[in-house]
């Protein structure tokens, strides 16, 4: 059992949730009542990571953030660090890859709030911000739980993107999923088995709690 890899997986999933979910709330809230002709395009882009092979995403990430490319070079100049083969880069790539899992449940949840409830809040004197905190977000809480749990679980199970973007640097970018692959390559089936079991159990708990919450709603 590679505990270092387990901690990195856990850290990656946590950071992705912390950074992505607020962003997804913002996006979903903006999109939910927006009736524009180009809305379908934005929804399609949001859903794209669902169907795109992780290797494609990883490839473009490497192309963009390579220190020799304009964007990657600029980032290195400003921060002194590079995003490829590093933990922050991994977090950024995970955020893109898990975006649909965070945004979709929230979008559906916001969409089902009747317009009249928001109007009632405005007519009770609540400003847009108060309406969001006191009415919209509490009513979308089932979507929020789903977004949190699915993003966390999905990031934990990431493999392709992590391998492409992060490589396999022990203690930095080697996650549990990559460590399993690594152990199988080395014919260490016992370690691979234990780690797979841990990941399987963990994912099962997370996903079943999502369904339990959905059911209660």
């Amino acid at each position: 059992m590679d505990w270092e890899a387990f901690i990195i997986s856990f850290k990656l999933a946590s950071w992705t949730v912390i950074l992505l979910v607020p962003l997804a709330i913002l996006l979903a809230r903006m999109l939910a009542w927006w009736r524009a002709p180009l809305r379908f395009m934005i929804e399609a882009v949001l859903a794209l990571p669902l169907v795109l092979p992780p290797s494609v995403l990883g490839f473009y990430f490497l192309v963009l953030f390579n220190p020799n490319a304009p964007l990657g070079g600029w980032i290195r100049e400003v921060t002194g660090a590079t995003l490829v083969f590093s933990f922050p880069g991994l977090v950024l790539a995970s955020m893109v890859y898990s975006l649909p899992f965070a945004a979709q449940p929230l979008l559906r949840a916001f969409e089902t709030i009747p317009q009249q409830l928001r109007e009632a809040a405005w007519c009770s004197g609540l400003g847009p911000w108060q309406t969001f905190w006191k009415i919209e977000l509490p009513l979308a809480r089932a979507g929020l739980f789903s977004a949190l749990a699915l993003t966390f679980a999905h990031t934990l199970g990431e493999f392709g993107v992590v391998l492409m973007v992060g490589g396999n640097i022990p203690g930095q970018t080697r996650t549990l999923a990559v460590a399993i692959y690594d152990r199988v390559q080395a014919f260490d089936e016992r370690s691979a088995g234990v780690m797979s079991m841990v990941l399987l159990g963990f994912s099962l708990v997370v996903v079943s709690s999502v369904y339990a919450i959905e059911r209660r709603k």
Binding site: E119, A120, A121, W122, C123, S124, G125, K134, L139
Partner: protein, 363 residues
């Protein structure tokens, strides 16, 4: 004036061109068919919809497109009771009412309790809205609307989502409650009976315009034209032609398919003018079959009964005039009168159309 003054217009999405006033303590009912613009008008007042024009309420300008003033809903002191009440399902009754109050929390809760007591909901403060009956939900919505110290109360079909027994009780409560409120109240309804019962004035709206406004009796019994008459469900509506005028007595004679009637004349209707005319069911008097009286000389019409419908101690009798069997005359009688005269479908009877009840409308 401290009441509400509205002058708005728009072309899209549906045309709207409306001017109305509602004084403090006055209840104005907006009636009209679905899609006539009643609810849109209410939303304009609340700031949920932005037309062109001017809205002034409680001495504050809420909308003035000329001066580019358009306050958001939050800054208009409106108490809005939505059609389905729009209670927040995740908050308790007390929180629903106290939510919008800017006072410190303890004061807000105390004030909310007071309003809940005023609408007879004490004891239900900690319940969730979904566990309440329709009538109770309506009261929560009303308490929430009053909580804001509104400058106007807007009621969008507030009695439509409850059963008839509850509706009757809530209407009575509303009548009682409003006497203690010195506020303009605007009520949207498609129920004419409700409007007549609660309103000080009625505005009849059709296709985004006010067809007629005035006292309930005025609007419901003396429509300005045949369109207004149809909208207020006047069934004794006929066409005719002025044949003779007696200016000295203020009377005229009308020729109509059922014969000739005498009516009160008003200026602007010289002989030869085509008019629409109507008479409320209460303006038709049955010629007693037991004791013939002298009244039978006032606009007598003979006919055959084609239908009798009983409702709440009354009998609605539908009559086909002998001289125009394709037309229908509706009259309302106390049930005991109908029974004593042994009225039955197929029987021939005579009625008088009371001169003072006949209302002439220009073509």
């Amino acid at each position: 004036m401290n009441g509400l003054v509205v002058e708005i217009r728009q072309r899209r999405p549906a045309p709207l061109d409306i001017g109305l006033e509602c004084r403090e303590g006055e209840l104005l009912a907006l009636v009209g068919p679905s899609g006539s613009g009643k609810t849109t008008l209410l939303r304009c007042i609340a700031g949920l919809h932005r037309p062109q024009g001017r809205i002034v309420c409680g001495g504050e300008v809420w909308l003035d497109s000329g001066a580019r003033v358009a306050l958001p809903s939050q800054r208009r002191r409106v108490g809005f009771v939505f059609q389905d009440y729009a209670l927040f399902p995740h908050l308790t009754v007390l929180e629903n009412v106290a939510l919008g109050c800017r006072s410190p929390r303890n004061q807000a809760l105390a004030k909310a309790r007071q309003w809940l007591a005023r609408v007879h909901l004490s004891g239900l403060e900690e319940r969730l809205p979904t566990t309440l009956s329709g009538g109770q939900q309506q009261r929560v919505a009303l308490a929430r609307a009053l909580m804001r110290d509104p400058a106007v109360i807007l009621l969008d079909e507030p009695f439509s989502a409850v059963d008839q027994v509850t509706r009757r009780r809530l209407r009575l409560e509303m009548a009682e409650l409003r006497r203690g409120l010195q506020l303009p109240i605007v009520l949207v309804t498609h129920d004419l009976e409700e409007a007549e019962m609660l309103a000080d004035r009625i505005a009849l709206i059709h296709h985004g315009r006010i067809l007629q406004q005035g006292l309930p009796r005025e609007v419901l019994q003396r429509p300005v034209n045949s369109e207004a008459a149809r909208l207020v469900d006047i069934r004794n509506l006929f066409r005719g032609r002025v044949t003779a005028v007696d200016e000295a007595r203020g009377r005229c004679h009308l020729r109509w398919p059922g014969g000739e009637v005498e009516a009160n004349w008003r200026k602007g209707l010289p002989p030869g003018t085509s008019v629409d005319w109507c008479i409320p069911p209460s303006g038709l008097v049955l010629h007693s079959r037991l004791r013939p009286s002298r009244g039978v000389r006032e606009n007598p019409v003979k006919g055959r009964i084609v239908e009798i419908v009983h409702f709440g101690g009354h009998a609605q009798v539908i009559l086909a005039p002998a001289s125009a069997p394709q037309l229908r005359l509706y009259l309302d009688l106390p049930l005991h009168v109908a029974e004593r005269n042994r009225l039955a479908v197929g029987e021939g009877i005579g009625v008088s159309l009371l001169i003072d009840s006949i209302h002439l409308m220009e073509d």
